[in-house]
């Protein structure tokens, strides 16, 4: 956007009363403004269009004029350029009018009779506001351009993996530091990179762009992932800090930090190498629907010196896929009081319109990606996690609260699909988790159990898995359930689970309970 180079700010005065018009025009010229004048709204509009609205710095208009009023002119100006200040001149005591004017976007008002001093103050403030608004608008447009450039960096550069890759990204502002890269980096090797730079501004976007470019270049030239991270950790912790001796081996001073999570998939060696610095630990999902979090997790780059970054390497043969998300997603799930996996499932399986309805005014950037390693099955045929929670033994007292989280999560992710069956699933989860907390964990805060609920869309099947650290029972479940049916009220929990599910099995001598429910 270009701006007129005019030494004197230009004021457009509009008044049907010739004496008033003359008074305002003469006064403003004496104040060293360039003045244009019009006697009605139509003439003022024509003048603005002819001159160019960016050449006008403030409009001063009388309210009461024949045919069209000052408010009509104000509406029109707001539609053309909302950064242009408009001051309404009213008769004494027209408070409703003043209120309406300000609500419609007028920058100020003046009550008749207007003194020179009041006129000087109002016009001066109006011109300043116009200049400030136009500068903000220009900056906003520049930020938007940077944001669009950022989007170019974030493209998935490996079209062959697109059928197996899903992601959702909702930046907080037009430009920021979160990014997703999917890049081919050699012979059937792919880099999945998610990043989150501290801050949500142009500076964060700069750090983000610098790192993405450097990472891509170094990995394409066979530098190891660990070495790239080591280099960037030093750059953030030492080089970019003013007045710090880079050779000093002391601690870092944190100015800018970068959370990154990287996965390198090697199809030839059937391996995936993962490392996480500052992201919530990614989830690894297996073909049977179970999942766990990665073990190699470090602080964000730029926080602490790290002697050597370790990589977690896994065989692709056992895995169904992995999920990576920013803390913006987990925070938003907390805000919705649901499990993060339910939010992920909904975001990755819904249209943009539905996603935008769900993620309404998020407090942070939200980013999540899923890569399906098991490419023999189509996406719908895999088990997708909906709930993955870990509880300590003493949380048995909070079972009602935990049940509410499961209910909200299932209702959120599956909407009406489950119908009344949701209560069967909830009851099974409640019985099994209570049993795990009370017996498997001995109600101890030191011991934990996990609950995982997964869904297979194609089979319409919900699978619940509960694991605890207990010693298990080692009994035959069918035999035990038959014995329980004596209606004597004892051990009803397991009988309930077995009867409400299509299939209930016990693994690891009873410490893992797997329920299937159609």
């Amino acid at each position: 956007m270009t701006y007129p180079q005019n030494n004197k700010p230009t004021i457009l005065v509009v008044d049907d009363d010739i004496s008033g018009l003359k008074y305002f025009s003469m006064s403003l010229r004496k104040m060293d403004y360039h003045v244009l004048s019009a006697t009605c709204v139509d003439e003022a509009q024509a003048m603005i269009l002819k001159k160019g609205i960016l050449h006008i710095d403030c409009v001063l208009t009388d309210f009461r004029m024949p045919v069209k009023s000052g408010l009509d002119l104000l509406d029109w100006v707001m539609g053309e350029d909302s950064s242009l200040s408009t001051i309404i001149v009213t008769a004494e005591g027209e408070k409703n009018l003043v209120r309406d004017s300000l609500r419609s976007g007028a920058s100020d008002y003046l009550e008749k009779p207007v003194s020179r001093q009041a006129l000087r103050g109002a016009i001066s403030r109006g011109v300043e506001r116009t200049i400030r608004n136009r500068q903000l608008l220009a900056t906003d447009q520049e930020v938007g351009a940077v944001g669009r450039m950022n989007q170019i960096f974030q493209a998935v550069r490996a079209p062959e993996i697109l059928p197996y890759f899903k992601y959702y990204y909702r930046p907080l502002y037009k430009v920021g530091g979160d990014f997703i890269n999917v890049l081919p980096i050699g012979d059937e090797r792919y880099l999945f990179l998610a990043g989150d730079v501290s801050g949500h501004d142009v500076r964060a976007a700069f750090v983000s762009a610098y790192f993405q470019g450097m990472m891509r270049g170094l990995l394409e030239h066979n530098t190891s992932l660990q070495d790239v991270l080591q280099l960037f950790n030093r750059i953030l912790g030492k080089e970019w800090i003013p007045d710090v001796d880079e050779s000093d081996s002391g601690d870092f001073r944190v100015q800018s930090s970068l959370a990154i999570c990287a996965a390198v998939v090697e199809n030839k060696s059937r391996k995936v190498h993962m490392i996480n610095c500052g992201f919530p630990p990614p989830w690894i999902c297996y073909r049977d629907g179970s999942c766990r979090r990665t073990m190699r997790n470090y602080s964000p780059l730029g926080w602490f010196p790290v002697e050597a970054f370790g990589i977690e390497s896994l065989s692709l043969d056992d895995l169904a896929g992995f999920y990576i998300c920013t803390d913006g997603l987990t925070d938003y799930a907390d805000y919705l009081r649901i499990d993060p996996f339910s939010l992920i499932y909904k975001l990755l399986s819904s249209s943009d319109e539905v996603c935008n309805r769900i993620v309404n005014q998020p407090p942070d950037d939200i980013l999540v990606m899923h890569y399906q390693i098991d490419q023999e099955s189509d996406l719908e045929n895999l088990y997708h996690p909906l709930i993955f929670e870990q509880y300590s033994g003493d949380e048995f007292k909070d079972i009602d609260r935990l049940q509410r989280i499961w209910r909200r999560s299932l209702q959120f992710s599956l909407s009406e699909e489950l119908g009344d069956k949701i209560y069967d699933v909830l009851l099974c989860c409640r019985e099994a988790v209570l049993n795990a907390l009370v017996y498997g964990c001995d109600k101890s805060p030191e011991k934990t159990c996990t609950i995982q609920v997964t869904v297979n869309q194609k089979l319409g099947r919900i699978r619940v898995r509960i694991d605890d650290p207990g010693h298990g029972h080692g009994f035959d479940i069918t035999e035990r359930v038959e014995k329980m049916k004596a209606l004597d009220g004892s051990h009803l929990g397991l009988a309930i689970i077995d009867n409400l599910c299509d299939k209930c099995s016990i693994e690891n001598d009873g410490t893992s309970l797997i329920l299937n429910s159609r």
Partner: protein
């Protein structure tokens, strides 16, 4: 929350429990049911109607509590009906054979 209404002309006592019957409230419900049964003399009613229409889940502890109430009422020589509107609860009552011991009145809840 629990409510009781004695209908002298029909000789029945209705006890309405609000919400699910769970491990966390079963004991409290049980105490209240016992108190209500004691409050209304046995001569004034022949049938106990337990209204669980607002419950969507009854867990094993809740089921135990209901079972004890059934036994207590039957021991007093009275009849009992349990009103429910949740198909999940209906399934629990059927597999546990509670429906053989007491009349279950199931009326499916309308979807809002």
């Amino acid at each position: 929350m629990i409510k009781d209404v004695l209908n002298r002309s029909k000789h029945n006592l209705t006890i309405t429990l609000k919400g699910d019957v769970l491990s966390t409230n079963a004991e409290e419900f049980s105490d209240n049911i016992n108190r209500i049964i004691k409050k209304h003399k046995p001569a004034n009613w022949d049938e106990l109607k337990l209204d669980l229409n607002s419950a969507r889940i009854i867990d094993s502890m809740g089921l135990n509590m209901i079972l004890n109430t059934v036994k207590q009422v039957q021991a007093a020589g009275k009849s009992m009906k349990i009103h429910i509107s949740s198909s999940s609860i209906q399934r629990v009552f059927i597999f546990s054979r509670l429906d053989k011991a007491v009349e279950i009145v199931f009326k499916k809840r309308r979807r809002r």
